[in-house]
């Protein structure tokens, strides 16, 4: 595959020019090395048992706990800084019109900007690989931990890139985009860091895989948020340019298949995790919603949830949060019906239908989605209260931020701007 996206090419040319980039990379590699060396020396002397894999050396937990966490945060910061500058900076430079007029296909612009933001992270990731290899040689880090980290990093980075580019598309100035993007990325980075810590084995624990479904589910939920962003951005850009193109990433369906496959695999391993199954179902429903038709043309019935996209998408993210929370145990015993699966389904269905009904009655996407979100959060408070609710809550906060942003920009764009001269 030849990379022929002009925006990515331009980014590469710009960033590879001069010494700035090479010094930054060197500094980064040195910093990684310093953290690694610190973890290494703090675990001395090397335990022969550990090297043979019989016991877990102190080094491994430090490595997974601090090193991976700091890499997640660094990569997220790098793509956030680049992504936040993308559209906002071009708008400030008044270069956006020329770009739109030259592009036959609006989604090329968005892919290019996200890709250009990711370009910043790729060398950073590659520079980290030798350290992973060294940690492997030193022993004590479980393959599953590597797998979790390698799944987690790209997801967090992709999510941060998409979120930052999104903020950039909506914000009026680069500064504003930067503040918004950093806010969103902080959540993503913290989410990633929490997952990386959760992925750790504790020495007392016998090697068990029970954390894996949770990690995967969280990763998929994060990816779901990322794709929801991408979808909404796609629509936004289509509207900016000509209002007729609808960008519908079919990758959604691929994600659905993967989710279901993971759920089935957990079952066959007799590790039935209701979270995984329901998370998968939720994501499928989310995809159906996002792949739907635009409102308009023919009248939509309130139960035709697939036609209400994308208004229902952020609401559905919150619904996912509700489902997860419902499974996590009661805050008020009296309200809790101790059957997690039907419970979650009821919560989810109630939220979706309520959201659709509101959307139709109010005729306003944003208000309906906000009210649905509020309802779902109410259920979350009733059913939540345990640690497992952390990720859905993070997702819900992202959704909330997105909605706030939409309301804000809708207000900004509906007011007539001052006379250009």
């Amino acid at each position: 595959m030849r990379l022929d996206n002009p925006i990515i090419t331009r980014e590469l040319r710009g960033s590879l020019r001069g010494n700035r980039a090479i010094w930054a990379y060197t500094g980064y590699a040195l910093a990684l090395g310093a953290v690694f060396a610190w973890a290494w020396t703090s675990a001395r002397p090397v335990d022969i048992d550990a090297l043979l894999g019989n016991a877990r050396p102190a080094f491994a937990s430090t490595f997974v706990g601090y090193w991976v966490t700091s890499q997640v945060l660094l990569l997220v910061a790098a793509v956030t800084l680049r992504g936040a500058g993308s559209f906002a900076r071009e708008r400030e430079q008044q270069a956006l019109d020329s770009l739109y007029a030259a592009q036959r296909n609006p989604s090329g612009v968005i892919f290019g900007q996200v890709g250009a933001a990711l370009v910043a992270a790729v060398p950073l990731f590659i520079l980290g690989l030798p350290f992973y290899a060294a940690a492997w040689l030193l022993g004590g880090v479980y393959p599953s931990e590597y797998a979790a980290v390698l799944a987690l990093l790209p997801v967090c980075v992709l999510l941060a890139a998409v979120a930052a580019v999104g903020c950039s598309l909506y914000a009026r100035t680069t500064g504003q985009a930067l503040v918004l993007a950093c806010g969103v990325s902080l959540l993503i980075g913290l989410g990633g860091a929490i997952v990386s810590i959760a992925a750790q084995h504790t020495p007392t624990e016998s090697p068990s895989r029970s954390y894996l479904p949770v990690v995967l589910w969280a990763a998929l939920a994060l990816l779901g948020v990322a794709l929801a962003w991408a979808d909404i951005l796609g629509r936004r850009i289509a509207l900016t340019t000509d209002g007729t193109v609808a960008w519908r990433p079919r990758a959604w369906w691929l994600l659905a298949v993967i989710t279901i496959a993971i759920a089935m695999r957990s079952r066959s391993m007799e590790l039935v995790e209701p979270l995984v199954v329901l998370g998968g179902l939720g994501l499928v429903a989310l995809m159906v919603l996002l792949g739907g038709e635009d409102l308009g043309r023919t009248p939509t019935r309130w139960w035709q949830i697939w036609r209400h996209a994308p208004a229902s998408a952020p609401a559905f993210l919150v619904v996912l949060a509700g489902v997860a929370a419902a499974l996590s145990g009661p805050m008020f015993d009296g309200l809790h019906w101790p059957h997690p699966i039907p419970n979650s389904l009821i919560v989810a269905l109630a939220c979706v239908l309520w959201g659709q009904w509101l959307h139709l009655v109010l005729g306003r996407q944003t208000t309906a989605a906000l009210l649905t979100g509020a309802g779902a959060l109410f259920l979350l408070i009733i059913y939540g209260g345990t640690g497992a609710a952390a990720f859905p809550i993070a997702a819900a906060v992202c959704g909330g931020l997105l909605l706030g942003l939409r309301v804000y920009t809708d207000r900004q764009t509906s007011a007539p701007p001052a006379n250009p001269r």
Binding site: D4, N5, P6, I7, T9, R10, R13, G14, R17, G18, E90, E92, Q93, Q94, A95, D97, S98, L99, Y100, A101, A102, Q103, R104, N105, G108, T241, D242, G243, T244, V245, P416, N419, P420, R421
Partner: protein, 310 residues
């Protein structure tokens, strides 16, 4: 080549562009003139598929800007009125960026870039950084960018603003060259003199409405406007006024004895000029030179627009 059919754009309760109808043939250079805020940029942005018309449509080679904007983008070269360039990018890289955006095949990009650099006289600046170019060079670079995919229609929004007189002349030559190569050019401006001798057709827009459109000749005739004939003569200047007094169409005569010149204002066509001169020569005026100032766009502009736009 380009047909505007009832093209309209409404912002809230402001009608920025109202029911424009226009037809351009291949090779036409259309001067789109109007005061600030008349709706020129809005019209051009609609044609460039950056704004969606509220009503109406425009067809570029028969392709609709409303239903097939993606095809239209391949047929137009759009130069915005204000534009920025990227930092950290060289002139040829900037052009390569747009060539890729226009999906030119990789192996054709190099030769095409050389060609447009040559055309816009930027070859010597090939390796310069874009942000270091002077204003006029940036303007030329932006024009070069719009030529990359060899579009049959160029939409130029005030391409001469901010240029010095020499650069303006060069731009005019460049536009003539492009016209000769068969391109249709839609060019907006409020600097009238820059358009006077390049344009084959002129449209005057005010408050979103096209108040006059057609060839310069047609507009002058339709508006009953004054044509001016500037004359230099070594003797007999005092005879001009009596000779032309009462002659049909002659509106005023201004004689400057010190400079040996006279300006005759008359309503009519170009064909009236020889008759007029003959009358003067036979009457004993020693005419040594005569210049017909047909394209008095300035006067046209001031008469047709009444400053309705704030």
């Amino acid at each position: 080549m380009l047909d505007l059919v009832g093209l309209t754009k409404v912002y809230g309760d402001l009608t920025a562009v109202s029911d424009l109808n226009l037809h351009l043939d291949p090779g036409d250079v259309f001067g789109f003139i109007g005061p600030n805020g008349a709706g020129k940029t809005t019209t051009i942005k609609m044609l460039a598929t950056l704004l969606r018309p509220t009503a109406g449509d425009a067809l570029v080679n028969g392709v609709s800007i409303v239903t097939q904007p993606e095809q239209v983008r391949g047929l137009i070269g759009y130069m915005p009125d204000t534009f920025g360039v990227y930092d950290d990018v060289k002139v040829w890289e900037y052009l390569d960026f747009f060539a890729a955006a226009y999906r030119l095949p990789r192996e054709r990009r190099g030769p095409v870039i050389e060609e447009v650099l040559e055309l816009t006289d930027l070859t010597s600046k090939r390796e310069a950084f874009v942000e270091e170019l002077s204003r006029g060079m940036k303007q030329r670079l932006c024009l070069a960018k719009t030529l990359l995919h060899d579009p049959p229609l160029l939409l130029l929004d005030e391409p001469a603003s901010g240029l010095d007189p020499r650069a303006r002349l060069e731009l005019r030559d460049l536009l003539r060259g492009l016209q000769r190569s068969g391109k249709t050019i839609f060019i907006s401006s409020h600097i009238l003199s820059e358009l006077a001798d390049v344009c084959t057709k002129v449209g005057i827009i005010e408050a979103g409405r096209l108040v006059a459109a057609g060839t310069t000749e047609e507009i002058i005739a339709a508006a009953g406007l004054t044509r001016t004939l500037a004359i230099t003569a070594t003797a007999g200047l005092e005879l001009i006024e009596p000779l032309l007094a009462g002659r049909h169409g002659v509106q005023d005569v201004v004689v400057d004895f010190a400079a040996h010149t006279a300006r005759i204002g008359f309503a009519g066509t170009l064909d009236d000029v020889p008759d007029l001169l003959l009358t003067l020569l036979q009457g004993g005026v020693k005419v040594t030179g005569a210049v017909e100032g047909a394209s008095d766009l300035e006067g046209l502009f001031l008469r047709l627009t009444r400053g309705q736009v704030a």
